[in-house]
Symmetry: C2
Subunit: 96 residues, 2 copies
């Protein structure tokens, strides 16, 4: 098991991750992204895939041409954990 996210960290979430929103009906966060085309979208996804393997923490995600939607949650915590914050920050860092 992984420790669920503490209440103080939850309260700080909007400030820590301004580009991420709560996923309705789940203890998870999501971010939607748009790129110039599929090539750019999938190039980004490949970089996120490498991050996911490095951090051993994998997104739930979907892609339709230039759009990518990413949901982060931690199954072993039954919801959000520090792993999601770390991954979200790493994804944000890719986007500059």
């Amino acid at each position: 098991m992984v420790e669920p996210l503490s209440q103080p960290r939850r309260d700080a979430l909007a400030g820590l991750l301004p580009h991420w929103a709560p996923t309705p009906g789940r203890d998870a966060i999501r971010r939607e992204l748009r790129f110039r085309d599929f090539s750019e979208a999938f190039g980004f996804m490949t970089r996120v895939a490498l991050l996911a393997e490095t951090q051993d923490h994998h997104p739930e995600w979907s892609n339709v041409w230039n759009r990518v939607e990413i949901t982060l949650t931690t199954h072993d915590a039954g919801g959000l954990s520090e792993r999601d914050i770390r991954m979200a920050q790493a994804i944000d860092a890719l986007l500059g």
Copy 2:
């Protein structure tokens, strides 16, 4: 515009693409796949991405760890077209 799939081809779809099922409520087909792990799933997705660029026909798809779900439809045809059959067959060929 792209020509919508003809009725004879629709009638033959189950035989042509036995691994694909109609998407409920849409004129589209879908296939769900399971791999050993994320690495294998994303490796497969990368091969499909290369196909998609080659054929200039892109899937709607999602991934959760070792699972990949692919939906094919042709926006320019308002539903299924020959492009979807060609892409589905190319994806099936990757899976041997």
